[in-house]
């Protein structure tokens, strides 16, 4: 059944490429996907969604799909939501409908495929599938310095992918597992501690490049600024989470090896938060500011991961995984919303230079409200999803603290908390500059019209998702419960 979620967008893309009505097919497919996706995630029996077909016997690779655990479900929900919003947003340049809509659908299918795969090979391959249309869209239909941005992201992500692939192959080889299936891999162990360390480093760097971990972050902001809105939404919102998902998924296999890189990782994630935070503070354009902020916020998810490494297992720090997953979801939705609205601002006023904007709230109150909601979510206002994730991240950082001296993860948590102040500064400055104050030439109500009710749908959908998870974090946490509870045999051992 879960293969439907991948087949629908792919078939729709093929239909578009062979001459169908692009916009209607894409919207229909994404809507159908959203319904099936959310339905499957919140259905009672998840096993009916499993699908497996052995593609190759030597090595044993399966096209195996299904919900491996709550984390996959949440990521699938995220992908389906953002895909639907992405299809409906942005403005396709005349004459490029085929490329535009089929690319969006392929990216979505790739993201969904990666999170649905329960086989490491296809997990990797689906992500690669999603990257190709991403590069194409930025290079061909992007804005500004699109060629340069497309080059940069292509080279970075290609290199990251190759390093990652080396790590994955080493991982499979060292584990001695007979198949590439997650369940077989995670049931096996890597005894050689040297190999563990090596694999862990390759995974951190390989996945790290894809997540824009410092110092491999400089591809992200220009790519998002140049990309067409749906691509920025899907990449920053969904595809970037691939790396984090992979790190958490494979973590138990290299738990010991990761420990060797804990202090390095802490330094890098603090650079993501503080260094890139200051870089964000100095941005003069709304889109670049958001692009950098999305790099910065990856640091918080890495912080939960660092807390996990310090603890040594999911059971030893039961907060780390839920914290990371909740924040991944929240960040994905909020950044997609903000990129979408920034594109709307660009189309309505003709500019995203902060100095040229002002007073937009008068002419476009609905746009101002939705952007404000996204901005508030992104700076961690309670009641919106990001806070639920962030507060759990900070708690996971202090989970091991017993009242004595502060450990390195606690010190990192405290420093990371200053990032919350930095985010508030750049977000509120940008909001003030864009929406408040007297209207200026570009934002005068005689030029600018507010959102129409139809255009509001995708934004409102994302806003509702932020509110639901923000007000009821248990809606997602309950999905994770099964996957974080200690196994019965281990309880008995204690």
């Amino acid at each position: 059944m879960s293969i439907l979620l991948i087949l629908i967008p792919i078939l729709a893309a093929i239909a578009i490429l062979s001459g169908g009505k692009a916009r209607s097919i894409a919207t229909g497919a994404a809507a159908l996907n959203l319904i099936i996706g959310l339905g499957s995630v919140f259905s009672f029996d998840h096993s009916v969604w499993n699908f497996s077909w052995q593609v190759l016997s030597q090595p044993s690779i399966h096209l195996a799909l299904g919900f491996y655990d709550g984390m996959s479900m949440i990521m699938v929900a995220l992908s389906a939501l953002v895909l639907f919003a992405a299809v409906m947003s942005g403005k396709c340049p005349e004459g490029h409908e085929k490329l535009w809509y089929s690319s969006i659908l392929f990216i979505g299918a790739g993201g969904l495929g990666a999170f649905l795969s329960t086989d490491l090979f296809f997990f990797y391959a689906f992500h690669e599938l999603a990257l190709i249309p991403t590069f194409l869209m930025i290079g061909m239909l992007g804005s500004g310095e699109r060629k340069e941005a497309a080059w940069k992201i292509t080279i970075y992500l290609a290199l990251g992918s190759i390093i990652l692939l080396a790590g994955l192959i080493w991982l499979v080889a060292a584990s001695g597992s007979e198949t590439w299936l997650f369940e077989d891999l995670l049931a096996s162990t890597i005894a050689d501690s040297g190999a563990q360390k090596g694999i862990a480093l390759l995974l951190i760097i390989g996945f790290g490049v894809l997540i824009s971990l410092f110092p491999f972050h400089s591809w992200a902001a220009p790519a998002y600024a140049s990309a067409p809105a749906p691509v920025a939404m899907l990449h920053a919102g969904v595809l970037k989470k691939f790396g984090l998902y992979g790190l958490i998924r494979l973590y138990p296999m290299v738990a010991e090896g990761m420990q060797a890189w804990l202090s390095l990782l802490i330094v890098l994630l603090l650079c993501n938060i503080l260094w890139v935070g200051f870089v964000t503070l100095n941005q003069k354009r709304l889109d670049m500011m958001l692009g950098n902020s999305s790099v910065m916020h990856m640091g918080y998810i890495f912080l939960a991961f660092a807390a996990l490494i310090e603890a040594g297992s999911f059971e030893a720090n039961p907060l780390a995984k839920p914290a990371a997953v909740l924040l991944m979801f929240a960040h994905g939705i909020s950044i997609a919303l903000l990129f979408m609205l920034t594109d709307t601002i660009r189309r309505k006023t003709g500019t995203v230079e902060l100095a040229e904007l002002g007073g937009l709230a008068k002419a476009a109150p609905r746009l101002a409200f939705l952007f404000g909601l996204g901005a508030m979510a992104s700076i961690g206002l309670p009641g919106l999803a990001n806070f639920s994730g962030e507060v759990l991240v900070f708690l996971s950082g202090f989970h091991a603290y017993d009242g004595g001296g502060l450990g390195c993860v606690q010190v990192a948590t405290i420093l990371a908390l200053w990032g919350v102040v930095i985010s508030a500064v750049y977000m509120l400055r940008a909001y003030r500059q864009t929406f408040h104050g007297p209207a200026v030439k570009h934002t005068d109500s005689s030029h600018v019209q507010d959102f129409g009710p139809f255009c509001q749908i995708p934004a409102a959908l994302l806003a509702i998702a932020l509110l639901v998870v923000g007000l009821f974090p248990n809606s997602l946490l309950n999905l994770l419960k099964a996957s974080t509870a200690p196994a019965p045999c281990e309880q008995a051992a204690e």
């Binding site: 090595p59 590069f135 194409l136 290079g139 061909m140 060629k147 080059w151 080279i155 970075y156 290609a158 992918s161 692939l165 192959i169 410092f214 110092p215 491999f216 400089s218 890139v276 200051f278 870089v279 503070l281 100095n282 941005q283 039961p318 907060l319 007073g359 508030m376 206002l381 309670p382 009641g383 507060v391 900070f394 708690l395 950082g397 989970h399 603290y401 017993d402 009242g403 004595g404 001296g405 606690q410 948590t413 405290i414 908390l417 919350v420 102040v421 508030a424 500064v425 509120l428 003030r432 929406f435 408040h436 104050g437 007297p438 209207a439 009821f472 974090p473 419960k481 509870a485 200690p486």
Partner: protein
């Protein structure tokens, strides 16, 4: 009672949502919905206050296996019930007043939705049963304050003030969160009622670290209750509509810091706090804030700014009392102050309304004749704030603070006495200039008394400003009250002298004048310019924060992007350009190549082994 308490929390949220989603167009209906909701919550608060028994009720908001979970819970005891009466009482009166004050505002629905959101968030703070929940609502009052200060967001000054308030509070909340996390590590719980037990069970903690945790938590209070050096946002917050200033920036939200510390201290036990490292700082920060703010108040000309500085100064008093381990005295002053300061702000609102949005006291004058009700009620508020002996509530609560200071810390007692003198001085300066003498501008000449919707709240608050300090009243409705034997001691003498001297100085200088005789004085200039702190902060932000940001950005572009990683990608890019010449040169080609390359690498590494 249980469901009543949840309704108390839920009703304002419901009305905020209903107004926002459905009633935006029906401006007057939304105003009435919000006001009705405030009225009902006041009724609920009274019922809860009169009902016997304390209780705690909660549900798990974020549950994770192996973790106690984050709970949303309500803790009802005298402290929270009494505080609720203040919040809903002042809240309801401010809603009533706003019906008239905001009658012709274009965005009345947005305003009342903001007020309802505030009532919800503030109720959450007051009833919170644990620190995480308090933090959640703490941020939400910050949001409603941001929205209401920025109500007239197309004015640059209002937009800047809203932003400044939010960001300054964020700095305090940075500390608050660290404190909560550390305390969680030490005591093993967020729940107030379990803190003392948790600490007793955890033997190994260091009193230095717990002291630091307490100071970090206090940092949150410094933001919200605008204690120096984080006080700068509160005077600017006067950009919001005046009823908002009365409710949020005088009576309730800014007092949340004091309330939080009182809740914290009484849960953990003051005897535990006493032994900790560095906690005396708290009393000193309160004392210094009260003095600085009182000095600044003596040279302000904007009627709301004078009241704002006086709020800062009184908050300093409360913090000082809490810092001297007498949260009861702090809370008692919070309680009396809420009534008379709301009265003063609403009174100033009436004046501003009557004078067609004139806020400069030097352009008022002679309002005694044209606005008699406002004049009398404002006068009562002034007397209460000055602590006029025996007949005003302010006297009784100030007495307790001075008494506490005298018993525990003599230098702080001297500061507190000096502040009492300054308070009387600047309040009578305001009173003489605005209400007595002759009218100094056309706007104030044509001022008319406000209507019943506005003067009724003034009268009710004036009565409370007089009687709320008496033990027969305070014993029932005050959040915290300890009957102290009144005796003629140093505290009484100091407060009596302060009132007399303050009045005499103000009378001599300001009773018959049309301009400030101190204005040219160098020291007065320093007070007028708020010790140049705003300018200093602006420089720190510009050269410190933004300078650093520009430097790091430059460095990031140059080194990380340009040399190290960029060099690598240029090499690869060079290879790419090589292909460009060979191939068609468009990006489709690159992407295809990339796809083929990836497939090739996958094929070789996976299958050729």
């Amino acid at each position: 009672m249980n469901s009543l308490a949840w309704l108390l929390l839920g009703l304002p949220l419901l009305s905020a949502v209903v107004i926002h989603l459905g009633l935006k167009r029906l401006q007057s209906v939304s105003a009435l919905v919000a006001t009705a909701s405030a009225g009902v919550t006041l009724l609920f608060s009274i019922i809860l206050l009169l009902s016997e028994g304390d209780f705690i009720t909660s549900f798990n908001w974020a549950s994770i296996a192996g973790f106690e979970g984050i709970k949303i819970g309500l803790e009802l005891d005298q402290l929270s019930k009494g505080m609720m009466l203040i919040v809903t009482g002042v809240g309801f009166l401010v809603h009533l007043f706003s019906l008239a004050y905001m009658k012709y505002d274009q965005a009345k629905a947005r305003y009342f939705a903001g007020l309802a959101l505030f009532m919800f968030s503030m109720t959450g703070i007051v009833l919170a049963s644990n620190f995480i929940m308090m933090f959640i609502f703490w941020e939400l009052v910050g949001l409603s304050s941001y929205l209401l200060i920025g109500h007239w967001y197309d004015k640059d000054s209002a937009a800047d003030a809203a932003k400044k308030a939010f960001l300054t509070n964020r700095i305090g909340d940075f500390g608050f969160m660290i404190g909560i996390l550390m305390l969680w590590g030490i005591a093993g719980t967020f729940t107030f009622s379990e803190l003392a037990g948790g600490l007793a069970a955890s033997s190994g903690y260091s009193i230095t670290l717990l002291g630091i945790a307490v100071l970090c938590i206090f940092a949150g209070a410094m933001g919200k209750s605008a204690q120096a050096p984080l006080h700068v946002w509160l005077p600017d917050a006067m950009e919001g509509p005046t009823p908002v200033s009365a409710l949020i920036h005088a009576a309730t939200m800014v007092a949340a810091g004091v309330f939080m510390m009182a809740r914290f201290y009484t849960s953990i036990g003051t005897e535990v706090i006493e032994a900790l490292w560095g906690v005396q700082t708290i009393a000193w920060i309160g004392g210094i804030t009260s003095l600085l703010a009182a000095l600044m108040a003596t040279q302000q000309d904007d009627i709301k700014k004078i009241l704002a500085y006086s709020t800062l100064s009184q908050l300093g008093y409360m913090v000082m009392a809490v810092g001297l381990l007498s949260p009861e005295a702090g809370m008692f002053h919070l309680y009396t102050h809420a009534w008379f300061k709301a009265l003063l702000f609403l009174g100033s609102g009436a004046v501003i309304y009557a004078c067609h949005h004139e806020q400069n006291i030097w352009k008022m004058g002679g309002l005694k004749k044209t606005m008699p009700i406002t004049f009398i009620t404002f006068g009562i508020g002034t007397l209460a704030l000055c602590g006029f002996p025996f007949i005003t509530s302010g006297f009784w609560s100030k007495e307790q603070i001075l008494e506490t200071a005298w018993l525990n810390n003599k230098p702080l007692f001297l500061i507190a006495a000096l502040v009492a003198f300054l308070t009387t001085f600047y309040m009578f300066r305001l009173f003489f200039i605005a209400f007595l003498g002759k009218s100094r501008s056309e706007k104030s000449e044509h001022a008319k008394e406000v209507g019943p919707l506005m003067f009724t709240p003034l009268i009710i608050l004036a009565i409370l400003a007089l009687i709320s300090g008496f033990s027969s009243v305070a014993g029932i409705i005050a959040p915290s009250f300890k009957i102290l034997e009144f005796h003629i001691g140093p505290a009484f003498i100091a407060s009596l002298l302060a009132v007399i001297l303050g009045f005499l100085f103000a009378f001599k200088l300001y009773a018959k004048t049309d301009e400030d005789p101190l204005a040219g004085h160098k020291v007065a200039q320093v007070f007028r310019h708020k010790f140049y702190l705003d300018e200093a902060y602006a420089k720190i932000i510009r050269y410190g924060q933004d300078g650093l940001a520009a430097f790091i950005h430059f460095f990031d572009e140059l080194i990380i992007n340009g040399l190290i990683v960029g060099g690598f990608s240029r090499t690869a890019g060079g290879i790419g350009r090589l292909f460009t010449r060979l191939q068609s040169g468009n990006l489709q080609g690159y992407a295809t190549l990339f796809g083929i390359g990836v497939l090739l690498v996958i094929y070789i590494t996976v299958f050729v082994s």
